[in-house]
Symmetry: D2
Subunit: 330 residues, 4 copies
């Protein structure tokens, strides 16, 4: 499985660089019969798009998602769905002075280490622009989960006072409700493992907490255990320190995750760095950059959770032989 | 890919329940020509085994690893290596009263939700016993990394004062040195994503931090960026807030990770819970249980990091066409 | 995914060399709740075992399959099932003169090209012995299919007159009945593609035909098309030139496959060959070898078909959103 | 891994329906540093395109391949390469009478069984049009192999006399030279198994032969074995009955494969069939259809072989620890 593909049955492959012609995603294993149209993408794409607030980049993209395949008569066919988003507002000349410079906090240096070549304009594939394709894929994933009543809520928190020329990070807390119990595949595809990997695949995420997260290291067992009880004939946990996941499998309770986002690396303050010829230089980044991406990244993190949960929803259908038999005997 | 398999080229599949006959792992894609013998497993297996300290379970296992295939004349063949560890000190009667009870903090309930059946003895596959197979696999992974000078260091920290009948969690900080720059496959197989998923696949891990981790959410860009410099003709970062990973690819610097471990759920204090018949009951767990697993889990976390890093080491070999050509032209 | 693993949800990983301690398989993604015991393996294992006929090797193995994990109270748990078969009748000294000789028609030379080392005794992992683990895995796969009424029938045909000191090949025709319509995942996991790859992964298979097979290249469209008709209210094909698979997806009709098996390479007639030092030599193979493996390979080919069909049966459950919704709303 | 993706390191995901806006492929794991431009696709795409001969469809497509990502300054970046081919000459009205009819020999019926919906225009994703994306992907795969001197030669053979209103099949024999020895991953990713699965994933292929193919079932061991000899200091086989593959691993000799193609199902002669409402009907197919696709499918089969061989070329680089060490120590 390549690094640009995620999933086992419901798979998503993304492609595209910041200043290339377009970016996109190919989704496979999407169940047939789901209503899907280009309008469905408007809401989440606009949550991700830079707005006119003080902290977002001034780059303007309409982020229109085009459905290139896999849908007919407004309904998914079960065949691969290709989504494409044309890049409109590249401003490549802004990056001319960066072709041979390694920007601190960015992936310029590590891409060069790995590949020996890179597209320096806008950060190439390491740019945050690539996440637009993920949000688009997440819209489809949410469509797989929505009939079950699954909802996504994300709360971004960032520092308010930002010194001039600098940037800040923050946190995003996610709450996903109504995920059926039983999702996740021990041991290596435990649900929390898959979710943390999905979140950390978003640039700038440097820590992931499930449930009580870092607080568990200082708790006692008697404080951290969630006791079971019965509500309306259904077994649930009284508390939710575990964040909706026990033994890597969902409990049916709210799934609680928190991601920590580092401050955006592109700041206009001067920075000491080197060129790809190993010569010292001072970097002053110009162009249009976010002061904080925390609000814009919230729908991206929701999308990543949706990709994982939709896939596990499908994989889980064959966990019991009794279900396999009744499926085929009808 | 199933939930019990991890890796793309160097793959590991584990099997076995706590009270079954044995546990084990099948490793595939191990390069041929590595010296390997049963003695190589002693050190890491004994670090994981319960010791005579005050906090570990009294269950006694010799944890002898047998090599069942893939090695001949003391050298790996390139074919699958099957490792087996016989279970010796199961004490199933201790679990008789638990057959129908859902222990808080354990996976009993969620396994039943998913599969409809479970092996209640010792927690079945959700037991920590299963990690013995992972440590064994990690020994082989470390052998793939060792010729490059890669070293693993883990520092467990736990609370000292533990009230009677209760348990505590803690943290394990890992430092992995001499990993070559360039490992990791954007975007979904970013190195930090794979490492966090691997660590969180170990039961009881509820948060993972890379580099500065949770502190990044409160930092400024000017504080968090690692400036580049040249040392002995080699480009390195002056600081290491990023924890050795930028854009999901290793920088060549120390890889710094911290895992937060929840307190072990099996405490002897009475707990309110329910049976699988949805009836209230009070649970008093007897038997031999760890008060804290933090020290024992350190070699397990090292092993999981080794599995990911060894796999990425191999995948990375084909990143550049120039290397592919020189490989085949020699 | 490694070369020793097959499948997407129901995966099988085999391990073991001909003269190692044991051989085995780890099966994951097996639905929970299937009755499974060690007796279930007797029939297919004995069909594969060398018998006292004139054409089979004199090597005697009891081929007892031990279930090491994944089953409790006689029922599958949904967790990995480890099957192990101990090797009993290795006769390694027979192979002493072969340590440095490349046997024509065998994989000695190619394994050396790839790995630089090999276990020459009995052919190591390239030996037919490894197929015992596949037959064992196939027993479990057949258990997933049996409740749907799926049956396997294989007819081996080989040449009767065999000159002294030589060997013969033959064919095996397979007919699999009652496979539900709709299995297979276009385009690269088309059912016929997966079946042919599975069959050709068995050593000695050099051609695979689906339905009319090689005859299609000489037919007219009007002769080869299977017209549709209705029988008992169900749409079926009148004829079955397509062998039960159209567009890579099962039609519900009988799946018809034919495999062509090459003559066993180990013959006692003298053969010209070279050593691994590139020196000419004449090889006279002694030891216990099959004159024809065609009858013994039939259950192996059934097993491989069962592995593919069981996996596709599970993957197919999520093809339609209506089924996903009704699954979770019950 | 989804049904629309093939490969382990070098992966290809195709998308698109016959009458959708476009078709395409996303290639990942392509080594960085390969020269690639849109002109590179002209030759193989035109070999596949319908020509003005008597046997091909009259549908006119320019089949222009656009590179949407993954290439900069005429060189691959190592990031995903998205290729897109716009559909130009759809003639959907030709298919209006087919919306509810199951065409014999086509996948209409089986797609309906699986998905419950389908795009009937031009056969949707089951159409041969989809193979244009595969040929495009194959061009890139050939670029990975070309520096090693690998060449592809395909020879189509079809029946000359074709009765009016009918269609014919044929065979395509492939010869691939200069593949290095050692490619292929026993046991389930044996090279011949992967090649046969790749070829049979092309619609209309109903049999695959490796080397002597079907003839092996009637041969003696003394006739079929390829003896080894030394030529110019290199060990080779004297004959090539094995078709360049032994034990699932390449020998370094020519890889010889033969595919049998069924006659195209769309014939204009009247055919008895049923509608999706299970009513009998007579079908007379109009529109533009190939009388034989055998010549057009030859470059598609070459492309599929190239995809498999390029992937195995990359996977094989980590087979020996000595190579891993020298790779990283330079």
């Amino acid at each position: 499985m390549s690094g640009s593909t995620i999933g086992k049955i419901f798979t998503v492959t993304t492609w595209g660089e910041s200043h290339g012609a377009a970016i996109g995603a190919v989704l496979d294993g999407v169940p047939a019969g789901i209503k899907l149209s280009e309008e469905d993408f408007f809401e989440d794409m606009s949550r991700r798009r830079p707005s006119d607030d003080k902290v977002s980049t001034k780059r303007k993209e309409s982020d229109t998602v085009r459905i290139m395949s896999g849908v007919y008569n407004g309904v998914t066919l079960g065949t691969p769905i290709s989504l494409m988003i044309v890049n409109e507002d590249q401003h490549s000349p802004s990056y001319n002075n960066l072709e041979h410079t390694y920007r601190p906090g960015h992936a310029d240096f590590t891409y060069d280490c790995k590949y020996g070549v890179r597209d320096h304009r806008g950060g190439g594939r390491s740019s945050g622009r690539e996440t637009a394709a993920r949000v688009a894929a997440g819209v489809v994933a949410k469509k797989i989960l929505a009939p079950l009543g699954v909802t996504f809520e994300s709360v971004p928190v960032l520092r308010e006072d930002i010194p001039a020329g600098d940037s800040v990070g923050g946190t995003v807390s996610l709450c996903i409700k109504n995920i059926p119990a039983g999702l996740g595949e021990p041991v290596f595809d435990k649900l929390d493992g898959l979710l943390s990997r999905a979140l950390m695949s978003v640039g700038a995420v440097k820590a992931v907490e499930i449930g009580d997260g870092v607080k568990v290291s200082e708790a006692l067992g008697s404080e951290n255990n969630d006791e079971f009880t019965v509500v309306d004939g259904k077994i649930v946990t009284k508390t939710n320190h575990c964040g909706g996941i026990l033994g890597g499998i969902s409990t049916g309770g709210d799934i609680l995750i928190k991601a920590h986002i580092k401050p955006t690396p592109s700041i206009s303050l001067p920075q000491n760095t080197v060129t790809d010829g190993a010569e010292s230089t001072v970097l002053e980044i110009k162009g249009r950059h976010d002061i904080s991406i925390v609000k814009r990244v919230a729908p991206v993190l929701e999308a990543m959770c949706a990709l994982v949960l939709a896939d596990e929803l499908l994989v889980n259908m064959s966990a019991r032989m009794s279900n396999v038999i009744s499926f085929y005997k009808e």
